[in-house]
Structures are given as C-alpha cells and as structure tokens.
C-alpha cells in the first residue's frame, strides 16, 4: 500500500469513528441537560395539581391538566388510528397479496402521507373544524392527531404483516378459513409483537407532537369533562411556559419537558420489552 493510500484509509476511519461517537455524545448531552434541568424543578405538587390562579406568573399549581390531557388525546387518537389502521394493513397483506402493483401503489401513497409535516395536518384540522362549526376541543385534537399517526401505524404494521409466510395463509385456507378469518385470527396472532410495537410507536408520536394540536385541541387550565371541551397538552404547556419571562415558570417548562421525555422513554422501552415477550406465540417456519 502506498503511503497516501494509508493516510486516506486512516483519515476516513477516524472521521467515521468521530461522527458515530459524536451522535452518541449529542444524545447524551440532550438527555443529560433535560434531566439536569428538569430534576431541579420537578415536584410532587407539579404532577398532581392543575394550575392555580396566577400560575403563569410563578404562583402555585401544576401541570396535571396537561399530563392527563395529553394522555387522553394520545389514547383516543391511537385507538381510532388502530381501528382504521389494522384493517387496512391486513387488507393489503391478505386480500391483495397477489396484486403486487396495487399494493405498491398503496404503500407509496402511505409513504407520501407519512412525509406530510404535522403543521399541515394542524392547518387542515382547523379548516375541517371551522367547516363543521366545531370549537377547539379534545375531539378535534383527536381527529387531527389520528390523521397524522395513521400512516405511521399502518406502515409499521404492514412491515410486520408482510413477513408472514405465504405457507401459513395457504394452510389456513386449506383448513377452510375464509380470508377475513385468516386476516383477523391468524395474521394478527402471528404478528402480535409487531402490532404492539406499531401501536406504541404511534402513541409516542401522538403524545409528543405539538404542531398538529396547536390549532385544534386548544388549551385550558381545567380538566376536560367532555370530548367537546378544549384540552391542554404537554408539548403546548412546555411551549407556553417557556415563553414566559418569569424564571420560575420557565423552570416548570424544564420539569414538564422531563415528564414528557420520561413518558416517551417508558413507552419506547415497553415496546421493546413487550415485543420480545410475545415473540413466543409466533410460529416459526
């Protein structure tokens, strides 16, 4: 090997190692600074109370409204997206299995929808709301977030369902099942772990997104009593508290960010754990 080649070899190797550890380092810094800032200002009061009068000037209270609001919104949207998403994912993998071209078109369409920024969904959701004469509400927020996580849900389920071997499908048919039985009883059971991962992934997206609920879910200091009332969400509460000039309120924004990050970390840990546990029900070929 010539010397120049050796130098080039070493140079790029060093660059590669550097960028890999750089990414890990950045992740470490982000997690560290969120925990460091958040842990200082988090308190039991914050987690268990709704904002009191003058909360946004540094008086007492907490972000329970935002925590519960976000959970309600994300649960609602995830359930709705599951009800619409699962049948679509099953349909393209069971009913359309011989129509490769059509399936590719549908997948392509889903990828396109996946790429649409969430603020566009927010604006569209707002347009729909005005069209139907709705106010900002939990319902409008759920509908908007559902649209936003639907492609994520379907495509991640689809990635798992497409790995189900064709032999399993043939076996089901030869034993006399019809197509929808094969889909809902065989395919879902074979892919439980993947479906759980897809649901949790969508839940994480739903709870973390702010741009789509900005117009549609509104914001309130109270806990909502019905679907038609506005609801507070964690990302927006972080955003609003951070815009405050009062340092105590800003500190609460860091604590809220810690809460949100923790929820998302727990969800993603769960999705790995559950995925492994349900692996056993899978038939291996």
């Amino acid at each position: 090997m010539k010397l120049s080649q050796k130098i080039e070899e070493k140079f790029f190797k060093v660059l590669m190692v550097f960028s890999t550890y750089f990414i890990l380092l950045i992740l470490g810094i982000i997690i560290y600074s969120i925990f460091e800032k958040g842990l200082k200002s988090i308190s039991w009061e914050m987690l268990t109370q709704v904002p009191q009068g003058g909360y946004y000037y540094g008086k007492g209270g907490g972000i329970l409204n935002a925590i519960l609001g976000s959970l309600a919104l994300a649960f609602g949207a995830t359930i709705l997206a599951f009800i619409i998403g699962l049948p679509v994912a099953l349909y393209i993998n069971v009913f359309l299995i011989r129509r490769k071209k059509l399936v590719n078109v549908i997948r392509f369409l889903l990828d396109l929808i996946w790429g649409i920024p969430s603020i566009v969904y927010g604006a569209f959701g707002f347009t729909l709301m005005v069209f139907f004469g709705l106010q900002t509400s939990l319902l409008a927020g759920i509908l908007t977030v559902t649209m936003f996580i639907l492609p994520i849900m379907i495509r991640s389920m689809d990635e798992i369902l497409r790995t189900v071997p064709i032999g399993l499908q043939e076996a089901a048919y030869s034993l006399g099942s019809n197509k929808s039985e094969t889909a809902f009883r065989i395919f879902t059971r074979q892919s439980v772990s993947g479906i759980i991962t897809a649901v949790l992934l969508s839940f994480g997206r739903a709870i973390g997104d702010a741009a789509s609920v900005l117009f549609t879910a509104g914001y309130t200091d109270h806990l909502p009593n019905s679907l038609l009332e506005p609801v507070a969400t964690l990302p927006l509460s972080i955003f609003f508290q951070l815009s405050s000039p009062v340092p105590e309120v800003q500190d609460r924004a860091y604590a809220s960010a810690l809460v949100l990050t923790l929820i998302i970390l727990v969800v993603s840990l769960f999705s790995r754990g559950l995925g492994k546990r349900y692996h056993k029900t899978k038939i291996n070929f």
Binding site: M1, Q5, E9, K13, M16, V17, S19, I23, I29, I30, S33, I83, I84, G85, P87, V88, L90, Y91, I92, F95, F108, L109, L110, D111, L112, G115, I116, P117, S118, I119, V120, Y121, G122, A123, F124, T127, F131, L150, N178, S180, E181, A183, I207, G208, D209, A210, A211, F215, P235, I238, F239, A253, A257, L260, T261, I264, L265, V267, S268, R272
Partner: protein, 296 residues
C-alpha cells in the same frame, strides 16, 4: 354463541376494511382540496408569482409576500442538511462496514431515542444549549454580534432532529448491498476504504440521494423546534447569525389572530398548502430514486 354466522362476520369485516382503506386513500386528496379551497380567496386576488416573490408581509394592509419565509425555510433546511449529511453518511458506513453486529444493538436504541424525543423538547434544548453557545462563544469568536436566536441555531437543532430519520434509511441501504460485491472488490486487492469509495458508494448512490431527500422534506416542514430558536423576525436574513422566519413557524405563530384580519387565514392556509406541495413533491421524486435503487 356468536351473534352472526361466519359469512356475515366476513361481510362485516370486509366492509370495515374497505371503508378504512378508502378513508386512507382519500386523505391526501382531501388535505390538498381543503387547503386549496381555503387559500383560493388569496390566490384569486393575488398572482402566485406575487405571493411567492414579494418581500412585503403586512397582513393588516393586505400585503402578503411569502418571500422572506420561503428564503428562511430554504436557508434553515439546506444548512441543516449540510451539517447532518456527512455525519450520517460516515456513521452509516462505519456501523455497517467496520463494526460488529453487537455495536448496532447499541446504535439502534440510541437512534430510536433520538427519533422519539418530541420536537418541543428539541426546541427547549436548543434554547438551553445551542442559543447561548452561539450568542456567547460562536458569534463573538466569528466577530459577529448575535442574540443567538438565529438561522444557524435553528439549523443546528434541525440537523440533530433529522439524524435518526436519515441514519435509519442509510443503514438499511448499506445493509442491503450484497456482500459478494464487497468481497469481489477486496479480493482484487482494493483496500477497505477503496472498496467503500468505488463500490459501495457508487452502488448506494440513488439510495443515499433518496435518504437525504426524505430528510430534507422532513426538515422543511419541522415546526416547533425551529419556531422556538429561529428568532421569528420577518426580514431577509443577511447572514446565518441573523434571526429569520420559516413557513411552518409562520403558520404556528399566527393561528390566534388569523380570524380577525381579512384574508389572513387564507394566507396561512396558503402557506400550509405550499408546505404540502413541497413535501409531496420531494417524497415523490425521492421515491423514484428508491425504486431505481431497488432494481439493481
């Protein structure tokens, strides 16, 4: 006892599937139509060229020039890509070609966590770390006076946010390259880096372009994190240390007052429509690169 017999149940399930599929299939068209109808008011009164290339943004006087926002968006997005592209490419090559499988087992959760962090939290982190860093160190060091809230801050934060997105695609692409190809090059006496440079990168090029394209589209539409650190000043930025404004930030910042000024809501919906069109266009073009890549 079941309420319905199997054939009836099949019918119910089948109808449910078809309805869901139709909902999903019509969604993008509905999005486009809804936003188009809403921005029609604006498009009716102004020409498209005027809207895009006019610099004046004074909604109260009926002046809607989107040029500063478009330029701001392009600056932020391109800078973010310039920062993130080499790092993602080098990392993807490293973890797929040089390290053992176990290393990927550390990398994957790390990428997942990066991807899972919500954009508001990235924005908050930007305010905590990046903005002061630029205001106190980078700005003075470069001899510029800056608040820190700037195009540069936004693109720093953005470049980190899109790392997991691009890296995942790149890793998949490099893993899909057949090992034989690599072995052939190595057995002809090529060094590892020569193999990567002349064989792998050439083979993966359409895929790499697609990964960057998808990342670009993602970055272009990112809202909250950018909004929080970009400064939100309607002015053409002269340098990267100047504050700017982006299209998504424009929509998000003004939703409260948009109903009180005539044609303002229409203008914001037009901004959303622009975002939608840009995102669809990019994803469409990049999809063909991926198709081309898969043909090999």
């Amino acid at each position: 006892m079941h309420l319905l017999n199997r054939h009836q149940r099949h019918e119910v399930n089948y109808t449910w599937m078809i309805i869901s599929l139709l909902i999903v299939a019509f969604l993008p068209f509905l999005l486009f139509l809804g936003l188009y109808l809403k921005s029609f008011l604006l498009l009716h009164d102004y020409s498209l060229m005027d809207l895009i290339f006019s610099k004046e943004w004074k909604p109260t006087n009926g002046k809607f020039g989107f040029y500063p926002f478009i330029v701001g968006s392009i600056w932020v997005t391109l800078l973010a890509m310039i920062f993130t592209a080499p790092i993602c490419l080098l990392t993807a090559i490293y973890v797929t070609q040089y390290t053992k499988k176990t290393f990927l087992r550390i990398m994957h959760p790390a990428i997942d966590i990066l991807a899972g962090i919500p954009s508001v939290v990235y924005g908050l982190w930007g305010i905590l770390v990046i903005v002061p860093f630029i205001a106190r160190y980078l700005g003075p060091w470069m001899g510029v006076k800056t608040m820190g809230y700037s195009i540069l801050a936004a693109s720093f934060v953005l470049s980190i946010m899109i790392i997991p997105f691009i890296l995942n695609i790149l890793i998949e692409i490099f893993q899909a390259i057949p090992t034989e190809l690599k072995e052939a090059a190595l057995s002809l006496g090529a060094t590892p880096w020569q193999t990567i440079k002349h064989v792998l990168l050439k083979k993966a090029l359409p895929g790499i372009i697609a990964a960057f394209g998808f990342g670009l589209a993602r970055a272009f539409g990112e809202t909250m994190a950018v909004l929080m650190v970009v400064g939100n000043v309607v002015r053409l930025p002269k340098s990267v240390f100047d504050p700017g404004y982006t299209l998504p930030a424009l929509i998000a910042n003004n939703y409260g007052e948009m109903l009180s000024i005539p044609r303002y809501d229409s203008a914001l919906m037009f901004a959303a429509l622009l975002l939608l069109v840009v995102s669809l266009f990019f994803n469409l073009v990049m999809h063909f690169f991926i198709v081309k890549y898969n043909k090999f």
